[in-house]
């Protein structure tokens, strides 16, 4: 003990720490040591048999199966050792330890002195003494493999590419993993097992039997109670011979008959060795205070461990001790439990497989059709062991309960199935009056019912009265349910759903009438007279749009009623930049125009030049202050890609060039766009013209579309949509000239301008009004308003001014100043991305 302390107590001299073994435990120990700052305390030297850094052996079966890359299995690549000033002798096998001189001798005359020696030599595959293992002096016959290292894995993969069938000797975990890998590589796979059920180390007979059935379903042939006696084949593997005299022919054989701890080095050095290298709770070899052992080679309290979790606990405890962080750290043993996959089947095992006394309670659940088997050993109210095969939902909870030794629920069924399942949803009718509906504002069902009884029979007034739904808003549907429940047929539709904008309590018709009667020409005048001076920000843009429609050039424009898009006539993007889309009538352009666009794009280093879905060219990522000069240099009118207005009229190539075209859709599209460009509407309008029913320009799913049909006629569609919402337009009329198309288009637009709610797209407006009614009004002139509509839209066309003229004469000095607009919010409810 004295001597030990002299080793670990800090002193001026750095000590030499030699670790034999660079596997998952040896390397982990060194990592833990460095993490505890012990790099300053020791010069660290490591020996590893394999010429690699340290890799994750657990992932080898994934590499064999082809689902893992070698790169992702490395835990400590070679440069890790260099970075941490560790001398690694990779591929150097240690021959002997001289404990008197405190020297480690390796292959090729490598000699390293040590003050502290840690043995982490791991284990090797056990190869039973079969006939015909070797041929012609090689250690293993060609086609015969053990499955332990990355190199084994490499060789198996390359040999398997030429083989058709394989036999795996050993139906334990590793053997089955090898079988899976080879199966994935397309081989016929046989598993030959000595015992009467698979994985007898982990499974009881019923579980083993169920696993066998599962594997056979996957195509593996399982041979039980079969003792292999011979590897057949002269030069290379050709089959196996068995003790019962039978044979099996195959192209390759993997031996996976268990592992043996590597103890010979320790034994030869005179250390105490039984099944493994004997260690104390300090993980020290008795009799030599300088030597420690951890990992699969170590035998602690009579126990050898093969799972990584307990071995890493050993590594941690030894690092605590040797770093001086916890000088008296001890390892007192582990409860072993693990979750793994066998051939892709979930398996969790822990503790005992069978009851150890009469007081042990055994709980089992078996469902052979699905390959599910669960068995628990309950001992003193705690978990003594468990097998979970085929359904691992409860595994995390059981593994934790086992590791912690937690008390188990009395209702054992709760152990077999996942706990904490979601409580089933309850309808509001079943909720008690005290149940909280709105969490944000702490509103109970009872409070809502009381408010309904007090007369709040619309959703809006109920929310306002109780404040339910005004926080995150998630409870609104439940509030609606409570309302329906409590008010029954007293539920009233909220009158505000008919308001044109939320801030002015009038329907559109009433509002238009009042605005006209009172001559309200500005947004602020409307607020002053119709909403008691309350300027509702959310209503401004809608009102501005309506007033422009009503008053045309006589509208009193107040810039603050506009969204940013409408203030600077460009579409704000999420990063605060804008897009510039010049008008290209009907998508028809010229070489000179294209050249000008290209010049501007280049000069302003526009990050993206994009052809839009509407046949336009979109210059994306423009700074606000660059807008006016770009417009000037383009010398083209605004393409209105940003506002609630007529946007574009998409065209196909039409009859002039197209072999199928029956109408000149190109010319018509240009005409429509020239006439109605920039006309403001309640929501955006996208148009198209198609030269034949093949409909290349998708005119039937536009707000307004004209499709040429035989006989020089045009079908006019309205109310189509092909965005988030898809709707085929309804036919308003079939006409026989371009002029008629232009006329009906304008008439429909004007009616829509006057009757649609703000932001109501035609695909909502048309079904709401009904196509029959629209036809009767707009085609049959049932209300006698067609002439007035035509006149009004004509006036709007005449009043139109290209807004990009403001480049010459900004409305105010800072109109285009590069002040940041908050991202994604200024545009409020009307926000739309450019399409």
């Amino acid at each position: 003990m004295k001597e030990l302390e002299s080793i670990v107590v800090e002193g001026p001299m750095r000590q030499r720490l030699v670790v034999v073994g660079n596997g998952m435990v040896g390397a982990r120990f060194v990592e833990e040591l460095i993490a505890r700052g012990a790099g300053d305390r020791y010069d660290i030297v490591m020996f590893g048999d394999e010429p690699h850094g340290n890799y994750n052996r657990i992932m080898l079966s994934g590499i064999l199966a082809g689902s893992q890359s070698v790169e992702d299995t490395f835990i400590n690549p070679l440069d890790w050792y260099a970075r941490n000033d560790i001398t690694l002798h990779a591929g150097v096998r240690v021959d002997s330890i001289d404990r008197d001189a405190k020297l480690v001798h390796g292959d090729g005359h490598v000699v390293e002195p040590y003050d502290v020696l840690v043995l982490a030599t791991g284990s090797s595959p056990f190869v039973p003494p079969l006939k015909g293992l070797s041929s012609h002096g090689t250690e293993m016959k060609e086609g015969l493999f053990a499955f332990r290292t990355l190199d084994d894995c490499d060789r198996m993969i390359s040999y398997a590419s030429t083989a058709r069938s394989a036999a795996v000797i050993g139906g334990g975990l590793l053997g089955l993993e090898a079988a899976r890998g080879l199966l994935e590589r397309g081989l016929d796979v046989h598993v030959v097992h000595l015992r009467s059920h698979l994985m007898e180390m982990q499974l009881d007979p019923p579980a083993g039997t169920m696993l066998k059935a599962t594997l056979e379903e996957m195509g593996v042939t399982v041979h039980l109670d079969k003792m292999t006696s011979e590897v057949l084949g002269e030069h290379r593997v050709e089959g196996l011979g068995f003790a019962d005299g039978s044979t099996l022919s195959c192209d390759m054989v993997v031996v996976s008959a268990g592992i043996r701890p590597n103890v010979s080095l320790a034994f030869d050095a005179g250390l105490m060795v039984e099944r493994g290298i004997v260690v104390t709770d300090e993980l020290r070899c008795p009799g030599d205070p300088s030597v420690f052992a951890i990992g699969e080679c170590a035998q602690h309290r009579g126990q050898l461990y093969g799972l990584v979790a307990p071995l890493w606990e050993q590594a941690k405890a030894l690092a605590d001790r040797l770093s001086g962080r916890v000088p008296d750290a001890a390892y007192t043993g582990s409860r072993t439990s693990t979750k793994l996959k066998v051939m892709g089947v979930d398996l969790a095992v822990m503790g005992d497989q069978e009851p150890s006394g009469p007081d042990d309670e055994v709980v089992t659940y078996s469902e052979p059709t699905r390959g599910v088997y669960k068995k628990l050993i309950v001992r003193g109210g705690r978990l003594g062991g468990a097998i979970l095969l085929g359904d691992a939902g409860a595994a995390p909870m059981l593994l934790q309960a086992f590791d912690r030794g937690s008390e188990l629920p009395d209702n054992r069924a709760e152990l077999l199935f996942q706990l904490s399942a979601a409580e089933s949803a309850t309808g509001v009718a079943d909720l008690p009056s005290s149940a909280q509906i709105c969490n944000c504002n702490g509103v109970s069902k009872g409070a809502l019912v009381t408010a309904v009884e007090a007369g709040h029979c619309t959703l809006k007034s109920l929310c306002e009265a109780t404040r339910a739904g005004l926080g995150c808003g998630a409870c609104k549907s439940q509030v609606q349910q409570v309302l329906e429940l409590a008010a029954g047929d007293q539920v009233r539709e909220d009158p505000s759903v008919h308001f044109y904008v939320p801030g002015v309590p009038m329907s559109k018709a009433e509002l238009v009438k009042t605005v006209r009667e009172r001559g309200l020409r500005s947004v602020s005048a409307v607020f002053a007279q119709l909403s008691g001076g309350n300027e509702d920000p959310a209503s401004k843009a809608g009102l501005a749009s309506l007033l422009r429609t009503i008053w045309g050039a006589d509208y009193d424009d107040e810039r603050d009623a506009r969204f940013i898009n409408d203030r600077v006539h460009a579409n704000v993007q999420k990063d605060g930049t804008f897009t510039v889309v010049p008008r290209i009538f009907g998508g028809v352009t010229t070489a000179a125009e294209l050249r000008r666009i290209a010049d501007v794009a280049e000069k302003y280093a526009v990050p993206m030049v994009k052809i839009t879905g509407g046949q336009r060219i979109d210059l994306v990522g423009v700074r606000k202050d660059e807008l006016p000069s770009m417009w000037k240099e383009l010398g083209m009118p605004s393409g209105h890609a940003y506002t609630k207005s007529f946007r574009t009229c998409k065209t196909c190539i039409g009859s002039e060039y197209c072999r199928y075209g029956v109408g000149d859709s190109t010319t018509l599209g240009v005409q429509i766009e020239r006439r109605y460009q920039g006309i403001e509407t309640p929501a955006k309008l996208k148009l198209a013209t198609a030269g034949c029913p093949r409909n290349c320009s998708e005119a039937t799913t536009k707000d307004i579309g004209a499709v040429a049909i035989e006989g020089g006629k045009w079908e006019i569609y309205v109310g189509g949509a092909a965005g988030g919402h898809v709707r085929k337009g309804d036919i308003l009329a079939v006409v026989d000239s371009h002029d008629a198309v232009l006329r009906y288009t304008g008439r429909f637009m004007q009616y829509y301008r006057e009757h649609a709610k703000y932001l109501e797209r035609t695909y909502d407006f048309v079904p709401r009004v009904g196509i029959e009614k629209l036809r009767s009004i707009l085609v049959d002139d049932a209300e006698g308003i067609c002439a007035a509509l035509d006149e009004a839209i004509g006036a709007a066309v005449d009043a139109y001014v290209d807004p990009w003229q403001e480049a010459e004469e900004p409305v105010h000095p800072s109109q285009f100043a590069d002040v940041l607009e908050p991202v994604g919010v200024v545009s409020g409810p009307a926000w739309e991305r450019m399409e």
């Binding site: 299995t73 934790q400 629920p409 995150c472 908050p822």
Partner: protein, 705 residues
């Protein structure tokens, strides 16, 4: 009644509570403030939770402190004049400093103070008191996130993007955060995200309201966050879904991470975290397929002794998913306290000077010395962190006198019984607050302070957006603002000139100069610019700079512009469950209470919703302890015991108990929590310790707080 006649109709200001800082519209008539959400403010867009709606209820509250209190010879707190109170304070400061040196006086600040006050408080400690001992309750809030962000990104700004970006991220991993209760108006962005087809993954030991609104809930074991992050990254690597271009162009150190990630294979991750492998895989696949992935953390993963490592692990995950050259992606952390962001960058932290500058950096010291008009050598060195500062009170080498402003550490610090004992050891305890908080009740001098609507100033919200709080009314006659209090004490200590300002904008102007050139540069921000732009995102280094909504759009704030990966291993929490303490205790908040509850417990409309702490207990755990739903339960840890009312629910893990921490006395859950500190951030481990449940016949009726 306050002079609310001075309120202009419909004034825009901000809620006094959390870091979301909802825009409020406040109007006054007949002596009553009416509060509504501000539809124009682009963060809350009109939404408001019940705390905001009732924010005015504290103003005319009968328990409001309206005069200074001084402890009498008989040991009672008695009303006193400001003169008496200030004399007592100054005498106490002098006595402590004369016998134990300048560092014998400490200052404990808060994350709810305005930027101006946070700045003044730091200046007051370093200039007027000359002490190195100043820290604040934000140490219990944002320090782990800050520590991680500075290591990985070179700068700590809670969200490096506007909060509205959340709505456009297609897959979000939200860790240890329950905004549906703690920040309800934030939920609109998650709802919009879900409505447009996005996926929300929530990692939380509890099935919170937020988890219920998610696509996938990962019910992790408390204290296993780093293992979760590493395990998800392992699966994402398996999918080959890391963004190699982004890694190559914008980051460094990924290769050093690979080896660590290799050891978090799914079965192992499942065993550590308790999350079934198929759920881990589902989460990983969602993230791997994301076009705009976002990872957000909060106190759940941060308030641990491994808080910095946990946060770094999630940053690693976010960086590996990459795609951060585009908007609507990336890593962020959701700040808690009202001015948690501004409070931590303007000089309240023990080791920092304004502008997020290190107090040990000679250039930073020289810069501040020139602004404060003192020699650089006169600026003290770094002090100790919040818990260590409290732990040292009245001890050898610790502070003897303490000034507490905007905080109630007796309720909010871990191991509360120990903190109480330390507070009682002080020679002088001064507390400035609106109400007689638990800490104030132990003080020698209590100063009545002005409230949110009685002062001007700025706050910095969770996005790093600097916004304006507006004075709507005068404080009651004998109540003073914190800056007036600091000025009065400083004047008596001979530093009056350094603390004399005509207005809060005067303080802000000095603050701007102080932060110029720092990481958190406010120098280009003015009150006018804030008004014009609905807030300004720092950094804003010049008058013509618009502010920076997305700080990492082009480069990270490290020396070489690259984000840095930091390999981290899962480490167990400082205290694991065992036979005597078989359950995990985790703490947090409820919707109707805020922090230590000094304000919200006194608002009747809030208190009646949550009058006492409820312990969420799984039916299995409840049955073992013999606890019925609704019964009082005693929770016991190695540090003390507390009482709460059992709420038996399957919404929590069977091995975990959750209790909110807003109450004092016997209901104080921080009597139980573990002050094990994160090695870097010095954050205590509020979120996980080992607890035992007990039921006793004498436990009935109400909890006496």
């Amino acid at each position: 009644m306050a002079a609310i006649a001075s309120i202009a109709t419909d004034t825009a200001t901000h809620c006094p509570y959390c870091a979301f800082q909802c825009g409020l519209r406040v109007s006054g008539s007949d002596g009553v403030l009416a509060i509504a959400g501000d539809a124009d403010f682009p963060v809350n867009r009109g939404a408001l939770c019940i705390k905001g709606f009732t924010a005015a209820d504290t103003l005319e509250h009968p328990e409001r402190l309206r005069t200074p209190l001084v402890r009498s010879r008989a040991g009672e707190l008695e009303p006193a004049s400001w003169e008496e109170a200030l004399d007592r304070i100054v005498a106490g400061i002098r006595a402590a400093q004369e016998s134990h040196g300048a560092d014998a006086v400490g200052v404990f600040g808060g994350g709810s103070l305005t930027n101006e006050k946070a700045y003044l408080l730091g200046k007051f400690a370093r200039v007027a008191l000359g002490t190195r001992h100043i820290d604040y309750n934000g140490r219990f809030c944002m320090s782990s996130a800050a520590g991680a962000a500075i290591r990985a990104f070179g700068v700590d700004r809670g969200l490096p993007f506007p909060v509205a970006d959340i709505a456009d991220a297609d897959v979000i991993l939200l860790v240890g955060s329950n905004p549906a209760e703690t920040m309800p108006p934030l939920m609109q962005y998650f709802q919009a995200q879900r409505a447009s087809g996005g996926s929300l993954i929530v990692a939380d030991p509890r099935r919170t309201l937020t988890a219920k609104a998610s696509t996938l809930h990962l019910r992790l074991t408390p204290g296993t966050d780093a293992a979760l992050a590493n395990g998800l990254l392992h699966l994402i690597l398996e999918e080959g879904a890391v963004d190699a271009d982004f890694l190559a162009e914008r980051t460094e150190g990924f290769d050093e991470l690979r080896g660590v990630i290799a050891t978090y294979w799914p079965e192992r991750t499942e065993k550590i975290t308790g999350i079934p492998e198929r759920e881990l895989r589902r989460a990983a696949l969602l993230l791997a397929s994301a076009r705009r992935p976002m990872v957000l953390t909060a106190r759940g993963s941060e308030q641990q002794s491994q808080g910095v490592a946990n946060t770094l692990a999630f940053i690693n995950l976010a960086l590996a998913l990459g795609k951060q050259n585009q908007p609507f992606t990336g890593f962020g952390t959701i700040t808690g306290q009202g001015n948690g962001q501004g409070g931590r960058e303007l000089g309240q932290k023990a080791d920092q000077l304004p502008g997020y500058r290190s107090i040990t950096d000679p250039a930073a010291r020289a810069h501040m010395a020139s602004i404060w008009g003192i020699p650089a050598g006169a600026i003290p060195g770094p002090g100790v962190s919040a818990y260590e500062l409290l732990d040292g009170m009245g001890e050898e080498g610790g502070v003897r006198a303490m000034l507490v402003i905007g905080s109630n550490p007796l309720v909010s610090a871990p191991r509360a019984l120990h903190i109480e004992q330390r507070l009682r050891q002080l020679e002088l305890l001064v507390v400035a607050d609106f109400f007689l908080s638990e800490t104030a009740a132990l003080a020698d001098v209590v100063l009545p302070a002005a409230q949110w609507s009685e002062e001007d100033g700025t706050m910095t919200n969770l996005e790093g957006r600097v916004i304006r709080r507006r004075r709507l009314a005068d404080a009651p006659p004998d109540v003073r603002r914190d800056d007036e209090i600091l000025h009065a004490i400083a004047e008596r200590l001979g530093w009056g000139a350094q603390f004399s300002y005509a207005s809060s904008s005067d303080v802000f102007d000095e603050l701007r100069r102080a932060t110029a050139g720092g990481v958190a540069d406010y120098s280009g921000i003015t009150y006018e610019k804030i008004d014009a732009q609905q807030g300004v995102f720092w950094p804003c280094p010049s008058d013509d700079h618009p502010g920076t909504p997305r700080i990492f759009a082009e480069r990270f704030a490290t020396a070489n512009g690259r984000a840095r990966f930091h390999p981290v291993q899962h480490q167990s929490p400082a205290e694991e469950v065992d036979v005597n303490y078989p359950l995990y205790l985790t703490t947090g908040r409820v919707l109707t209470q805020y922090q230590s509850g000094t304000q919200t417990r006194r608002v009747e409309r809030l208190a009646r919703v949550a009058p006492e702490p409820q312990a969420e207990i799984h039916p299995v755990a409840a049955r073992h302890a013999g606890i019925a739903d609704g019964a009082l339960v005693r929770l016991v840890t190695r540090r003390g015991s507390a009482t709460a009312r059992a709420r038996v629910t399957r919404d929590i893990r069977e091995d975990t108990v959750f209790v909110p921490f807003h109450w004092g006395g016997a209901a104080s859950i921080n009597r139980l929590t573990n002050p094990a500190l994160d090695p870097t951030s010095r954050m205590p481990e509020f979120k996980v310790c080992a607890v035992r449940l007990e039921t006793r016949p004498e436990l009935q009726g109400v909890i006496s707080a």
